[in-house]
């Protein structure tokens, strides 16, 4: 009987996310504010309904009380965060907020099913992060001097990365974390934001000369190289792509885009021959079954999970995603495919895409170049990280071991993503203010 409920629930969950995804694209069509607000409210209802269904199923299957508490906490979080933004930041982008809530919800559902203790820990971090992030939009508005701190950003970011390189904890051959006792801190997640601020502050001036660009490029290259040496390949690629995109948009020179991408490909080939850990990843990607006992094990297990799920999934708590090593961190996407199905996963990809387009749209409308570049840089980082993790898990591209923002387990990752989104909200509010000013002048 319970199996039957679970069987039905997976179709219900799919319908809910399909509706949500559909509306996250159609909402742009409506000019009228009232219609927009109606749809955004409907989206919120869909999220709550999705959470309710999923947590009910998990509770029925596991019969753990924590699941009810987790659902209660999540519901409270959704209400509070939506209310706070509506009260304090009337001009914030509710669609962006909804997307954040949706992705966090999917993450919590899977995490509660995989490891309730981790879900509780993650929830505490998310709640704290959201509260901290509430002040960021105001800070953005008041701190107009942010664009002058160029060398502070450069030093802070590089310093953090060097500390990891020297003192970092070695996890599976990669130095990514610093253990602070109570919290395993992953600096590269925060350096991502600092890096974007640094690059934006260097490039926003129209008077920037070729010499300026060369210096900026050298510093960016040092960032990327430090990450490669720490074996944090995923972050290295994200930083690299972000820099190329920002440079291209700031200078409007297509040459930089092609030269950047070209040298990136060349660097990848050189890295392949220079570093054995890069080669290992490529082998595990090309023929994971041949190295099943070693580097291919995780990839093969991930593929089994995606395959087992098919289009509609096995249903919550019906698969065995726990067979995949590091499923909470790196392989959340495979777990989603296995239990909620390939179609659900495709909707997830579309939501991430909608999130990126929304951020680009915000960036497009901002007048001040510094803020424009920041929004674009943060959006690029987000989009490319999504591509790397989903592509890696599904064996579309080699695995780089990077988290799926907001969905994966990991304190630093979720904290930095929430901060990123708060910054973007701040910029969005700034833009709305600008618009109002123009209206008034007219």
């Amino acid at each position: 009987m319970l199996n039957l409920i679970i069987e039905l629930s997976k179709y219900l969950l799919l319908i809910l996310i399909v509706l949500y995804t559909f509306e996250s694209f159609t909402v742009f069509k409506y000019e009228d504010d009232y219609d927009k607000r109606y749809i955004l409210r409907k989206q919120l209802l869909l999220i709550v309904f999705l959470d309710f269904t999923a947590f009910l199923v998990i509770f029925l299957k596991t019969e753990k009380v924590e699941i009810i508490y987790l659902f209660g906490a999540l519901l409270l979080y959704l209400i509070v965060v939506q209310a706070l933004y509506r009260i304090f930041y009337k001009k914030a982008s509710i669609l962006l907020l909804n997307h954040m809530c949706m992705l966090l919800s999917i993450g919590f559902i899977m995490l509660s099913r995989l490891a309730p203790e981790s879900a509780i820990r993650q929830f505490a971090i998310v709640a704290a992060a959201t509260v901290i992030a509430m002040v960021i939009p105001i800070m953005i508005k008041k701190m107009y001097f942010l664009k002058n701190w160029t060398w502070f950003y450069a030093a802070l970011g590089l310093g953090l990365l060097l500390i990891v390189l020297i003192f970092g904890k070695n996890v599976n051959g990669a130095k990514i974390n610093i253990d602070l006792g109570f919290f395993v801190f992953q600096p590269s997640e925060f350096v991502k934001i600092i890096f974007v601020f640094f690059v934006a502050s260097r490039l926003y001036r129209k008077s920037a000369t070729f010499r300026d660009h060369v210096i900026t490029t050298i510093i960016a290259a040092v960032y990327v190289l430090t990450l490669v040496l720490s074996r944090d390949l995923g972050s290295a690629v994200v930083f690299f792509i972000t820099y190329v995109v920002m440079l291209y948009v700031a200078t409007k020179k297509p040459f930089y885009l092609f030269a950047g991408l070209g040298s990136g490909c060349a660097a990848a080939v050189i890295a392949y021959f220079l570093f054995s850990h890069v080669r290992q990843r490529v082998v595990a990607w090309k023929a994971p079954f041949s190295v099943y006992e070693g580097a291919g094990f995780q990839i093969v297990q991930g593929l089994f999970a995606i395959g087992a799920g098919g289009w509609f999934g096995m249903g919550l708590c019906q698969g065995s995603p726990e067979m995949i090593p590091f499923v909470k961190q790196d392989y959340m996407f495979a777990a989603i495919c296995e239990e909620l199905g390939g179609l659900f996963a495709i909707c997830l990809i579309l939501i991430c895409m909608s999130m990126f387009l929304l951020v680009v749209n915000i960036s497009l409308r901002i007048k001040k170049r510094f803020y424009k570049l920041i929004a674009l840089g943060l959006g690029t980082e987000y989009a490319f990280q999504v591509f790397l993790t989903i592509g890696g898990v599904s064996k579309f591209i080699p695995m780089t071991g990077i988290t799926l923002p907001l969905v994966s387990y990991g304190g630093s990752s979720v904290l930095s993503t929430i901060i990123m989104l708060a910054i973007i909200q701040g910029l969005y509010i700034l833009r709305e203010d600008e618009d109002e000013e123009i209206e008034r002048q007219k």
């Binding site: 009987m1 199996n3 039957l4 069987e7 995109v245 291209y248 948009v249 409007k252 885009l257 079954f289 099943y292 093969v300 593929l303 089994f304 999970a305 995606i306 395959g307 087992a308 098919g310 289009w311 698969g319 065995s320 067979m323 390939g342 996963a345 495709i346 990809i349 579309l350 991430c352 895409m353 990126f356 387009l357 680009v360 960036s363 497009l364 674009l376 690029t380 989009a383 490319f384 999504v386 591509f387 989903i390 592509g391 599904s394 579309f396």
Partner: protein
């Protein structure tokens, strides 16, 4: 008055036009200003769409292959919801089923016991054979939906799908009995489809008690009973390799006509002497006779004339040293000669000794390609998957794997092999209502006791005009091909045509 109106109209029109131009200009400026944004957006949209495209591709194309990997143990997690399905023979007999007692304990039962041990395999200790190959289907249920819902509500298990194999119990039993107490293997393929009709391997084991016998079986390295010799065996081919020589000769000269050789009973080159079997002297012979009588001296000369490179090329075109399309565990066949092997090794290789090693399955595949006008059909064991009530879930469609030789080449080899039955080393197969063609082999090897022994080989096919069965038989250390392997094939053919 009218003029004035016109003038007004004109000026209005003009200003309208100006405005439009301005608008266009502004739009253009805006577009060029946002060109970078458009490019970046498109770039990432393409990236996201390709991710989705890949997900679709994975689910449509690659999924089946990935989940049916023997490494995949996920389906076993469904054991508390699904009763493992049956494995059936193509003639409707049950080869494996799950018995549930009153307390709900399940036992896997194999009614045919040792006879199908290797090919059907077992469902414990890591799984093997068709039990491993078809694990996903056996643990999936496509039962009627209402029935499934009913079972869920009553908390009964759903019955897994049945796997209908290509194996034929009558032929398998005939082959099993014919091989008798010899170790070795028999493989029978349908040359037109690639369906595996028979796969016998001896020594065998009892799959009903394999879990209890496991330690004994694993430690018994003298017999290696768990090894499926049909696909994993690696034997010297002996004279059946002359089929490869003949093909290489044919490719070099375009015809076998005009070949003549005078057999004096042995040939010696570089102090290396190769005699004909049993010291026989065949005298003056053409190609057909040399092949029919399996004349070692003639084929040694042919090998020497062709040289290592051409032999290697022909052997590799017949899938030596390469992957084979066999869905069960198998060993690649080995042909190692090198560019300048020296005459002794070349001579040995030409008569199927030397470093060459083959599996019975591979030999059956080459034979089936000869029977099927040169086209090798992809071998398969699973004919279809059915629901418990007999509705078809999926069917295997026969497919050509590769054209190993041209139709003409296959025709010549066919005629040569026919003569082997008519007047050569396999005359025991003649005089039946069906026609047959083949090649015997007597492959020498050094036994564990240090003595030189002979494997008895036969490859061939029945009903030459429109072949029904392609067979490969090996009986380890049994003597010449004519003595043991040919009679085994004879009994299998008879059981197909007479009973």
């Amino acid at each position: 008055m009218r003029k004035l109106k016109d003038k007004n109209k004109k000026s209005a029109k003009k200003s309208q036009r100006d405005e439009e131009i301005m608008k266009k200009k502004r739009k253009k400026a805006k577009r060029s200003k946002n060109k970078e944004y458009t490019i970046i957006s498109y770039f990432f949209v393409v990236i996201f769409i390709s991710l989705i495209g890949y997900m679709v591709y994975f689910n449509v194309v690659k999924r089946e292959d990935v989940i049916s990997s023997p490494y995949n143990t996920r389906q076993n997690q469904l054991a508390d919801r699904i009763t493992r399905g049956k494995i059936l023979s193509s003639d409707g007999q049950t080869l494996a089923y799950t018995e549930t007692d009153e307390e709900g304990n399940e036992t896997r039962v194999y009614p045919y016991g040792n006879k199908f041990a290797h090919v059907v395999g077992y469902d414990c200790n890591g799984k093997n054979g068709i039990e491993a190959l078809a694990n996903f289907s056996l643990m999936s249920s496509h039962n009627n939906y209402i029935e499934q819902v009913k079972n869920e509500i009553l908390e009964n298990k759903n019955p897994g799908d049945s796997v209908v194999t290509t194996l034929n119990t009558k032929l398998q039993e005939a082959a099993y009995n014919a091989l008798g107490s010899y170790n070795g293997a028999v493989v029978v393929l349908d040359p037109k489809t690639g369906a595996v009709l028979v796969s016998v391997s001896k020594p065998d084991f009892n799959p009903n008690t394999v879990e209890a016998d496991w330690d004994t079986l694993v430690n018994d390295s003298a017999n290696s009973s768990l090894l499926n010799r049909a696909t994993q065996g690696a034997y010297p081919p002996g004279s059946i390799f002359k089929v490869v020589d003949a093909l290489a000769y044919l490719r070099e000269h375009g015809t076998i006509d005009g070949f003549s050789y005078n057999c004096k009973g042995s040939i010696t080159v570089d102090d290396h002497k190769i005699p004909c079997f049993g010291g026989e002297v065949h005298g003056s012979e053409d190609f057909t006779k040399a092949f029919a009588k399996s004349c070692n001296t003639a084929f040694t000369q042919i090998g020497l004339d062709l040289g290592a490179e051409k032999l290697q090329k022909t052997a590799e075109s017949l899938l030596f040293n390469s992957k084979l399309p066999i869905p069960l565990e198998y060993n690649k066949s080995k042909f190692e000669l090198g560019k300048a092997p020296g005459n002794p090794l070349l001579m040995q290789t030409a008569i199927g000794q030397g470093n060459t090693l083959v599996s019975p399955m591979h030999m059956a595949m080459i034979t089936s390609a000869i029977a099927n006008d040169g086209k090798l059909m992809k071998p398969y064991y699973i004919e279809k998957v059915e629901t418990v009530s007999g509705q078809t879930v999926e069917t295997t469609k026969p497919s050509v794997y590769k054209e190993l030789m041209s139709e003409e080449e296959a025709g010549v080899l066919k005629t040569l092999m026919e003569e082997v039955v008519k007047s050569g080393t396999a005359t025991k197969l003649s005089g039946e209502s069906y026609s047959a063609a083949g090649k015997t082999g007597s492959a020498e090897y050094t036994g564990s006791d240090g003595k030189i022994k002979t494997h008895s080989w036969f490859i061939g096919f029945s009903n030459v005009e429109d072949p029904d069965l392609a067979i490969a038989v090996i009986a380890e250390g049994a003597g010449t091909g004519s003595k043991v392997a040919v009679p085994v094939a004879h009994q299998v053919f008879n059981s197909f045509y007479y009973n």
